[in-house]
């Protein structure tokens, strides 16, 4: 099966001190120039197979949303390559990206900020259709939009309303309809259900899975909720402070998590099943900031298994079994 997306060594950082005055600090009475950079994404690599769902999982600040926005070129990558269906799109000009934008779409997290409050719902879905000429004229676009809104579970009679007249779950459905309007092949879903109530989450997740089958879609799914990830993914990547610490097929990761951070995540997740509940490892400290990245492994300060080399050298992803790679100094050659 071909890869719909191949990401290699993607890097993204934000310069927090722009201009001379920002950089001027005083330390012990003497002026000093500091340069503060937030290293959001530090060289991540992964593949997504066509027709599959790849989930990027991690807590806030790990860089998963930034990575998603960089892949879709909302932010310009600082280094690395992104290949969509074999084509290198890392540095494509804006005009050249337009035909690709038809194929790569995005669903956003906040149902209250992802729709233009001044646009009628039907127009929100029609706009991309007309721009990418998926309809011959406005009349056809209107008809197709109504059909699409119905497909995502909304009443087409409400198509002329404004977003604020809909609930959170309904607005997410509108956002999904907008993404589907161009008949894309690849969708990046940035925490699409995190802001919704549990029962609505389930409806939307089921719908996404149905749509995936129906329209032959591939997904990059960003999430922080492990149980959601387990439910819908084919492959998973676990991120911590800008790096992928563990990645592989879902079954391998969930059956046999190897990286200490992945294990911590799993044991911390609140679960309904009493048999599953285990006492999570006593964790030291807080999530460090991305501004002063530690020299070696990013997780070293909080890791219960840290040894000397961990503070000195950044580990790289190494395969521990087919379809399962871990980035850790202590995992190499070590059974679970």
């Amino acid at each position: 099966m071909a890869n719909i997306l191949e990401v290699r060594n993607l890097v993204q950082h934000f310069d927090l001190t722009k201009g001379f005055l920002d950089r001027l600090r005083f330390e012990n009475g003497l002026p000093k120039l500091v340069h503060r950079v937030a290293h959001a994404v530090n060289g991540i690599s992964f593949d997504i197979r066509e027709g599959e769902v790849f989930s990027l999982v991690g807590e806030s600040g790990c860089g998963k949303s930034t990575a998603a926005r960089t892949i879709i070129r909302l932010l310009e990558p600082k280094a690395g390559t992104i290949a969509y269906r074999g084509l290198d799109i890392t540095k494509l000009a804006r005009k050249e990206m337009i035909p690709l934008r038809r194929e790569m779409q995005m669903i956003f997290q906040d149902p209250y900020a992802s729709l233009n409050p001044r646009q009628r719902v039907r127009d929100i879905v029609m706009e991309p259709m007309l721009f990418h000429r998926k309809a011959k004229n406005r009349k056809e676009a209107a008809e197709k939009s109504l059909a699409l809104l119905e497909r995502v579970g909304l009443n087409p009679e409400q198509a002329l309303r404004y977003p604020h007249q809909f609930s959170g779950g309904q607005r997410q459905r509108i956002g999904i309809a907008r993404a589907l309007a161009m008949e894309p092949r690849f969708i990046i879903a940035d925490e699409p259900v995190s802001a919704l109530d549990v029962s609505i989450q389930a409806q939307i997740l089921n719908m996404l899975m149905d749509l995936k089958e129906e329209y032959q879609l591939s997904f990059l799914f960003i999430a922080h909720d492990l149980s959601v990830v387990k439910h819908i993914s084919d492959s998973v990547g676990v991120m911590y402070l800008g790096s992928i610490v563990e990645t592989g097929r879902k079954e391998n990761i969930f059956r046999n998590p190897r990286h200490p951070y992945t294990r911590l995540l799993f044991s911390s997740a609140p679960t309904l099943d009493e048999e599953e509940r285990c006492e999570p490892a006593e964790l030291k400290g807080e999530i460090p900031s991305s501004i002063n990245l530690p020299k070696g492994c990013a997780f070293c300060e909080r890791c219960p298994m840290a040894v000397e080399i961990c503070a000195q050298e950044r580990p790289v992803l190494k395969e521990v079994e087919p379809g399962h790679s871990v980035s850790c100094h202590c995992m190499h050659g070590d059974p679970a």
């Binding site: 807590e59 109530d197 389930a202 089921n206 149980s227 609140p270 679960t271 009493e274």
Partner: protein, 325 residues
């Protein structure tokens, strides 16, 4: 026989908006014993937060609270004057709010905010207060407490701020703590730490807790009993294990079916169809009937009666389900 700490009888909270009357809480009754943790579970619009603000008399115009009695240690809170309520809030009943980013005043140091609680409710002198502040910070797991007292909230991370909020809530040794979604805004690994901390501190102090959340998994860890709310009414209560393993109300079943499990390998989730109705336009009879797979015409005719099941459970439904999940 456990000592009854809190008894709420037929609590109702209405908001008179220009679009009509919104009944956020509709005649709920529940109780809490000493040393118990009660989990109140509901999605948005269920009224869980409003109910607890109503108990503490923190609801303002255009909200109106009425009840047949809110008995705390035998005294009816609904009839107390403002001054007596001030003495109760903080000292006897304290509250932990959801968002650690906005629960603390950014202009004051952590130390002064904890101290304020002690100033209001204890007789300690200046030295005693400072010592107690440091003690509290250490208790919630913050290292170098004496130094950190002088920090400002923005210098703390989300998890640490929530610890401070917990410290403030526990400062005057209350016997009842109401925690409103205390970990929802936190990352999962921090959430686990904070939940463990709360569990430990509450049981050590012999205090009781009302834990309000939408996350059944959180409540399944910490609570002894669970009450499930929907559209302002309590639809089911009971010991935690029973409610989770064999929920009697179709809504509780639906909620549990909506949650993806780490253990099972499901093909599809089993969500509840439809949407939560607007509180301005509630269906007649049982609020859940339009979405309920078991609803019958009788369900639309009147609010279903409360049926008491064994094991200390009760459910508000004409057709409760008694089989295991």
């Amino acid at each position: 026989m456990a000592e009854r700490l809190l008894e709420v009888k037929n609590l109702t909270t209405d908001f008179h908006t220009f679009r009509g009357r919104v009944r956020a809480v509709d005649g709920i009754s529940f109780h809490l014993d000493k040393g118990e943790v009660l989990g109140i579970v509901g999605e948005s619009g269920s009224g869980k937060s409003v109910a607890n603000l109503s108990i503490l008399r923190l609801i303002e115009q255009p909200g109106v609270v009425s009840s047949d009695g809110v008995l705390f240690k035998g005294r009816d809170l609904s009839g107390l004057d403002a001054r007596s309520m001030l003495k109760i809030r903080g000292k006897e009943i304290s509250m932990i709010f959801q968002d650690p980013m906005t629960s603390l005043n950014p202009l004051y140091t952590i130390g002064s905010q904890i101290e304020e609680m002690l100033l209001l409710h204890t007789d300690l002198d200046d030295k005693g207060r400072k010592a107690r502040c440091a003690e509290l910070l250490a208790m919630v797991g913050i290292t170098n407490p004496e130094e950190r007292l002088r920090s400002y909230p923005h210098q703390f991370s989300g998890g640490m701020r929530q610890r401070v909020v917990i410290a403030i809530a526990l400062a005057a040794d209350p016997c009842l703590i109401i925690a409103d979604e205390p970990t929802t805004a936190l990352d999962v690994t921090i959430q686990a730490q904070i939940l463990r901390l709360m569990e430990r501190l509450v049981s050590r102090a012999g205090a009781s807790m009302i834990l309000i959340t939408h996350d059944l998994a959180v409540v399944s860890r910490m609570a002894h009993r669970i009450a499930v709310m929907y559209c302002g009414r309590i639809v089911e209560t009971g010991p935690k294990r029973m409610v989770i393993k064999s929920p009697a109300h179709p809504y509780t079943r639906g909620l549990l079916g909506s949650i993806p499990r780490m253990s099972a390998d499901q093909r599809r989730l089993d969500p509840i169809t439809g949407m939560v109705p607007s509180l301005l336009d509630l269906p007649s009879g049982c609020a859940f009937s339009p979405r309920c797979p078991r609803s019958q015409p009788i369900c639309e005719r009147g609010v279903p009666p409360e049926i008491k099941l064994d094991g200390g459970r009760s459910v508000c439904c004409h057709f409760p389900q008694l089989e295991n999940l």
